[in-house]
């Protein structure tokens, strides 16, 4: 659940001692006692509703998604029986190619230069059209040559790329800002209680609501706050279209996400900071260590477990981002999740949407395994 920020975090350190081990020891190798068996039965009875619910809303639907990713199923139609088409959906979504763009030559055989920029052939002439038609995701230069990255479903590949860029930059900014806020709030000062309360405000605002507030602040006229202030200070013409211009779309999304989730990051880091014994700093003070030295030698190492959990957790959350992209950018620019939802609801291509879901699932699973490993390791300590 993208959007639904933050709250879904599992407490680390988690509940885990080995129940089985203890049960075995109690049984002493003999058959488990009647009492132990009765306890096991009750335990499973208590767990049954949870697993039943999860079966209905998670395991079964996910198996349906996996199955339909190999078919040409359409969304919300019952007229036509879906056909099995193997990996065709995946091939369509993930086919990539890199081609060199030859220089555009004039009659004399010289490369055409316009506005000081050397010109190249259009990707339309370079990318394959048969059997599947490729479109450009983006062009790039390497070692003096010009290349184009082509994909059959360029929007999906682009969405994966954009979501990754969004995640890396947003999480990095949130971490730095969150750290600054946490360090500032970890000292005694008047008004600390009020600051801690203020931190919960962005977190409490519904994601779609914050998206619309930011949409209003970033209006492409001087009625919008950013354009009004920007033109006063002289670095925009007051007409900057934050959501229309491709160069500003991702930064706008990142700004929204950073505002909404930095407080969460700061809260986690603040909780981590409060567990560091103050004697360490006092000792460092006596030894004459500077503030920066104290931060590097005491704070960072002791905070790193908290930081690692927070980082992975935020990464998982950002990779799922849906709300802000869907509300503000619609079909102008997609995140992985918003493209998948668009495929399903607007293009009614259930097969392809299912395949996209599986791809997202795999990407997130990699990070989830990392996260579980980390929590699991800590439990063993």
């Amino acid at each position: 659940m993208e959007g639904s920020p933050s709250a879904s975090r599992g407490p680390g350190g988690g509940p885990a001692e080995d129940g089985e081990g203890r049960a075995r020891r109690d049984g002493g190798g003999r058959k488990p006692s009647l009492l132990a068996r009765a306890e096991a039965r009750t335990a499973w009875l208590l767990l049954a509703p949870t697993f039943l619910v999860l079966a209905i809303i998670a395991f079964y639907p996910f198996s349906r998604v996996v199955t339909s990713s190999f078919t040409d199923a359409r969304f919300a139609t019952t007229t036509q029986e879906p056909r099995f088409i193997g990996l065709a959906n995946y091939r369509r979504l993930l086919s990539l190619t890199v081609r060199e763009l030859p220089p555009l030559l004039d009659e004399s055989g010289e490369q055409v230069v316009r506005n000081g920029q050397p010109q190249y052939e259009s990707w339309v002439r370079v990318l394959p059209r048969e059997p599947l038609r490729y479109r450009a995701v983006f062009e790039f230069s390497l070692l003096g040559k010009r290349y184009v990255l082509g994909a059959v479903t360029s929007q999906f590949v682009r969405a994966i790329w954009d979501t990754s860029v969004f995640t890396v930059i947003a999480v990095a900014l949130e971490t730095v800002l969150g750290m600054i806020i946490a360090l500032a709030l970890n000292t005694e000062f008047r008004g600390r209680g009020m600051m801690r309360a203020a931190m919960l405000v962005p977190w409490a605002v519904i994601t779609t609501v914050s998206a619309r507030i930011w949409e209003w602040m970033l209006q492409p006229t001087r009625a919008g706050l950013f354009n009004a202030v920007g033109s006063r200070l002289g670095f925009t013409d007051g007409q900057t279209d934050f959501f229309g211009s491709p160069a500003l779309q991702l930064p706008s999304m990142i700004a929204m996400d950073v505002w909404k989730t930095t407080p969460f990051m700061a809260l986690l880091l603040l909780a981590g900071l409060s567990t560091i014994p103050s004697e360490l700093y006092e000792a460092a003070e006596v030894d004459g260590a500077s503030r920066i030295r104290q931060f590097v030698s005491i704070t960072l190492p002791l905070l790193s477990p908290t930081l690692a959990v927070a980082l992975i957790f935020r990464t998982l959350d950002s990779l799922r981002v849906f709300d802000i992209f869907q509300v503000v950018l619609g079909n102008r620019r997609f995140s992985m999740a918003s493209y998948t939802q668009d495929l399903l609801i607007n293009q009614r291509d259930m097969g392809a949407s299912s395949a996209a879901s599986v791809v997202i699932f795999v990407i997130i699973a990699v990070f989830a395994v990392l996260y579980i490993r980390m929590l699991g390791e800590r439990r063993l300590e």
Binding site: A40, A43, L54, P305, F322, Q341, I360, Y371
Partner: protein
């Protein structure tokens, strides 16, 4: 500069930093309030003004008199409350079993629950829609059921560690007195876990109140069932010509204030719940 003076400068810089952080955190919400209080004319006047010349409540009145919006508030309240209650009931059973009982398969169950806290909603969207069509449930019960996907694993996980932290001796004392496991659960442990229930319940409520992806998808064919996040995202307002940002901001303020109050009242509990995992070893 002597020591005293540099300390004063440091103090001033520190409070400046605090002020900047405060403004950063609060400004967008402040801007929503200010914009909601402006007339349509002032709203589109350039450049934007920091405080309305003549604050009016027109936008708030328009939003509150909108049937669609009131309906959305009601829907959201029903959905979020039902999800919270269901998660707590089902989740406390599972949390008790995982936290206090011994049986084979406990560790794998815990891993499944932990993995489910990270399950991407988008991965089940199409399949869930199919399930709902088969079951034939209307949009609101469908949302209630499917929101358990993200509230339930989290609730189970948190409650498991709370149950586990309670001393075994209490339970044994109850059993010596002749209580069954269910009675011990209901009469002894449940009252003790009330604070944990409040924390997880609040977090579940907020998550459900916030949810957009499922709500948007499931109400495509049933607009009256729209919840607040969907209503705000699709808000068209009473004036058709342009995006009615004054009314949208009024709606934003109306739906945010109860949540902010809730969060501030239960501040300590929420922070404890959010940070429970990251720090405890």
């Amino acid at each position: 500069m002597n020591r005293g003076a540099s300390r004063v400068v440091g103090r001033v810089l520190f409070y400046l930093l605090i002020a900047v952080i405060f403004v950063y955190l609060m400004f967008p919400f402040y801007w929503a309030i200010v914009s909601a209080l402006k007339t349509q004319a002032e709203l589109i006047r350039t450049p934007a003004t920091l405080w309305p010349d003549d604050p009016v409540l027109t936008n708030f009145r328009a939003v509150l008199s909108s049937v669609t919006f009131r309906r959305a508030l009601l829907n959201s309240t029903i959905v979020a409350s039902a999800v919270t209650v269901l998660s707590l009931i089902v989740g406390s059973f599972a949390g008790y079993a995982l936290g206090k009982m011994r049986f084979r398969g406990k560790t794998p169950s815990l891993y499944v629950i932990l993995a489910m806290t990270m399950f991407p909603q988008i991965a089940v969207l199409a399949g869930l829609y199919a399930v709902i069509r088969v079951l034939g449930t209307p949009a609101i019960p469908s949302m209630i059921l499917s929101y358990l996907l993200f509230t339930l694993p989290f609730t189970v996980w948190v409650l498991t560690s709370f149950f586990r932290g309670l001393p075994d001796s209490l339970l044994q004392a109850a059993q010596v007195d002749g209580a069954t496991l269910f009675q011990a659960f209901r009469l002894v442990l449940l009252p003790l876990t009330a604070p944990a229930m409040v924390t997880t319940g609040l977090l579940a409520f907020i998550q459900a109140w916030n949810e957009y992806l499922f709500a948007l998808t499931f109400t495509v064919i049933d607009p009256p069932a729209r919840t607040v996040p969907v209503a705000i995202a699709l808000f068209t307002g009473t004036v058709r010509r342009q995006e009615p940002f004054g009314e949208i901001m009024a709606a934003a303020v109306i739906v945010t204030i109860p949540l902010v109050v809730l969060v501030l009242v239960f501040q300590q509990r929420i922070v404890a719940g959010l940070t429970a995992g990251a720090v405890k070893g």
